[in-house]
Point group: C2
């Protein structure tokens, strides 16, 4: 196994950081690595906002659900799907680009582009010995996040990426077995087989929590998922994204 | 600069492969690296379909716009946003999960999760000396792609990833300048400044094509984008994804 694969396999989220800010050089290296990810038809439909303003960082930490480590990391990046530049190009070139830009297809392109770039950023940071955590919590309240960064139409913040010098030891978390995530030639959907696989995975996850918490927790994955999905959270999303003129038709 | 960052910075898409199939071991390593990417609240809302059936591969290559290298690569992965397992968990646990699963928020989670995993897969493959190309072309005709892999409701194929032993030398493509993609604390949207930056980037891209094609091409990025976005492609997407019971409300 080569060093890069070893790095990928050793990913764990870090939620406690030393009080050390990233250098400009580190930020530039991370962003430039992000930019080299593949992008659909060279569209580059995303923007990265770096938050250095301490007040803004604190507000974002509060908006993301009061997660202190968001404010106390070495750097906070916000990844946005972005077709604003392309809308401006339409004006400059007098080209009818809005029907395309406002489509679900192009919204997906923005989300995919931003995510591929973010994962490159995460890996670049980890390869430098830094820790990372994705912050989906900013989607709790996108209108407020948007106001903080003053993003125009055609731009939607998707998630944060908090990066810094790790101040905790964490362990990797066991993913679904290979055969659950990877199917050959066709989608394996048989409900009885799936239930069987879920049961086995649940036992493994339960044992993992039991061991890590010395018996205090023994949740199963299915149980966690059922509880989380019963909460009807962020149901404002569809309307909000349409308001920002994406995912409209 | 460490080896991993060097790898990230040297990414280029490969569209011609030697006739060498990936080994089971390579496939397993790539998928397991993909799985270790971050996933929103541990939801793991994606599935990877590996296409080994030669007829299916050819059909997918045709559906993706007649790109031969899709059929002739060492392996073709399809990345799908997937909340089918979670819908089944809802049935098993008698939990009311569908309002959540069918939301735009959870569709975004599926797209982000699949993309983070895919980028890990791409990097793992490149670190093994393999070449990769993302195949967004499968979105030309998702109903047909879906039929080929027999995917149920709550599953949407997003893109392919074709991987193999490279049989061409390609060059990296110059991304937008750092200051266009990375903004500090707030989104820089001033149209005049943006136009100025676009002009400079256009000159750079134009020179890049001119040099690489010995004068045959000299397109600017803005021009490329305007032309591409004037084509109203894949506008069936919103209805189709709603049919698959995602991105509904």
């Amino acid at each position: 196994m080569n060093k890069t694969i070893e790095l990928l396999e050793n990913h764990r989220s870090v939620r406690k950081f030393k009080d050390v800010a990233l250098t400009d050089n580190q930020i530039k290296t991370i962003v430039e690595a992000a930019q080299m990810a593949s992008t659909s038809s060279f569209i580059q439909a995303y923007t990265i906002i770096g938050i250095t303003d301490k007040e803004k960082k604190k507000e974002l930490a509060a908006l993301a659900g009061g997660q202190e480590y968001v404010a106390e990391s070495g750097h906070l990046f916000l990844f946005c799907a972005d077709l604003y530049r392309h809308a401006q190009i339409g004006k400059i070139k007098d080209a009818d680009v809005l029907p395309s830009i406002e489509s679900t297809e192009k919204f997906m392109v923005g989300v995919i582009d931003a995510s591929l770039a973010a994962q490159n950023a995460a890996i670049a940071a980890e390869s430098m010995g830094l820790g990372i955590c994705y912050i989906g919590g900013i989607r709790n309240n996108l209108p407020e996040v948007n106001k903080l960064i003053d993003a125009p139409d055609y731009v939607v913040p998707l998630f944060g990426l908090t990066v810094g010098v790790p101040d905790q030891e964490t362990a990797t978390k066991p993913r679904m077995p290979f055969e659950m995530i990877y199917h050959e030639n066709k989608y394996e959907k048989d409900p009885a087989q799936l239930e069987d696989k879920l049961n086995k995975y649940d036992q493994g996850i339960s044992a993992y929590y039991h061991e890590r918490t010395k018996g205090a927790r023994s949740d199963q994955w299915s149980e966690q998922m059922a509880k989380m999905l019963e909460r009807k959270s962020r149901l404002y999303m569809k309307d909000y994204i349409e308001e920002k003129k994406l995912n409209r038709h």
